[in-house]
Symmetry: C3
Subunit: 207 residues, 3 copies
């Protein structure tokens, strides 16, 4: 599980740094956004579960975010489309982190419902905070499936665990479900059937 | 008091789902925004008070949010103006939740000042988080009285309680104060006397 | 240290109230934004450190925010450029608060890495929350050095403390480092060397 944790933190940190590069921030801005994206979701997870914040107990996570930000600072100009990279790294990080969040939620509370909710939040809030701070359009409002992938990944892990599969298998199941759903949504531009009747009117148009 | 709690969660969840419908999200987007609006304010309340998060202890609140989101998903197209509904449901939820927040703050800390602050936050933060995530103009910046209604509702509850009224009466007092203030502000477009001298210049105009 | 704490809270509260005046909110809007800016960073600091929230334990901080908001409400029209004042008060508050945050982080966890991170967050998050709620362009994305000043101020305090300087000296060192860096950045419009290759394309331009 520790692998999933570091994959989640490292890749989310990379997406934060890519976002900083799109906004042309300085090196500390890279580190800041990398840290927010990298440990933001996990911080809220630990606050909700009422356990000590993981990076306060183990500051090496902060060092991982800082190192990732430095690497991206010096290499981002090599990428053709940083935003495409950001979306795909975010997809892998989401898959890793929704499973790890569900695992930790289950460990702490023992409730499958809470585990699924916490897994979903852990997988998605880092990206949502990143976009909010970097003033990007929120990934939540994009057409492709996003929260759904984290939710189904967390659900797959919790169900596999409930039917007694060994933990590495359950973790793989959850990871694969999430990455396949989010990946195909990205590759094919797949939306879920959305609420279609009509969009909200502009605010000027309401009284 | 438990009634106020469920009314607050359920109606805030409905406003989150209405917001999701305005943004044409998928069903999971409905559930996500409903959950953020429904339990967001209460989650921050419980974090600040240092008690266990209510929906981690009692996951049925999450089920309420999910159910509300599903109902709105299939009925929102029947509404003439979803944004008017959103504003009015938000008003009732605010009134219920500022009283419940003040009650819980008083119960945990015993300090009336903290109870009023926590009540105000509980009543308003769910709506503020919802608008931030859905990228709507923040309800906080609208002209009509908003935070004031939650603050006076919480204050009315704390004062009634302090002079020894029985709890159901104090709760009614706070609820009625908040709903009358917010409701008449909405119905009549009433602002408090605002700071009028001049708005901030555009950022381009400042050096 | 208690001086730094009150300076940080009071000045951040003043920046929140100035922001409210730019948005022409009512008096309660002033108090709300003053409270968010004044105690927001410290609240997240205390949540992360897992200690009781400072203003719940000592509600006088809330009174300070309310009083500051009232003063600004009646005097803001006297200022030539509220936004310049906001930036400079924010600079002093940031310097005071990054040192106090690092001090509290060191006291609670004993880890210098965590102390620097917590100091940086304490110094910057109040301003970031304020701008997010008031819908101002985030101070984080402005060209001048911001997070860096808080980080180096916290670092200077932690290092001075580590080499055994008496605490008032370490605190002064951190405060002076932060204020000189942020102040000269503001006065001279100094950016750190930023990531320059190219800004992110508009979202319409990506696939």
């Amino acid at each position: 599980m520790i692998v999933l944790d570091f994959v989640g933190v490292g890749l989310f940190a990379a997406t934060g740094a890519l976002s900083a590069s799109r906004k042309q921030l300085d090196i500390i801005g890279f580190v800041f956004l990398a840290a927010v994206a990298g440990v933001g979701g996990g911080t809220i997870r630990d606050l909700i579960l009422g356990v000590g914040i993981f990076w306060v107990l183990e500051p090496v996570y902060i060092v991982v975010c800082g190192g990732t930000a430095a690497v991206i600072y010096f290499t981002a100009h090599l990428l053709e489309s940083r935003y495409r990279w950001l979306l795909w790294l975010d997809a892998v990080a989401l898959a890793a982190y929704c499973v790890f969040g569900a695992y930790k939620g289950l460990l702490v509370t023992g409730s499958p419902v809470v585990a699924v909710v916490v897994g979903t939040l852990t997988g998605t809030l880092g990206g949502i905070l990143r976009d909010a701070l970097a003033n990007e359009p929120s990934i939540l409002l994009r057409r492709e499936i996003y929260v759904t992938a984290a939710l189904l990944g967390a659900l797959a892990f919790v169900l596999s665990d409930a039917i007694g599969l060994p933990q590495p298998f359950s973790a793989c199941a959850g990871f694969v479900v999430a990455i396949v759903i989010r990946g195909s949504a990205l590759a094919l531009g797949l939306p879920l059937p959305t609420y279609r009747s009509r969009p909200g009117r502009e605010h000027g148009a309401i009284r």
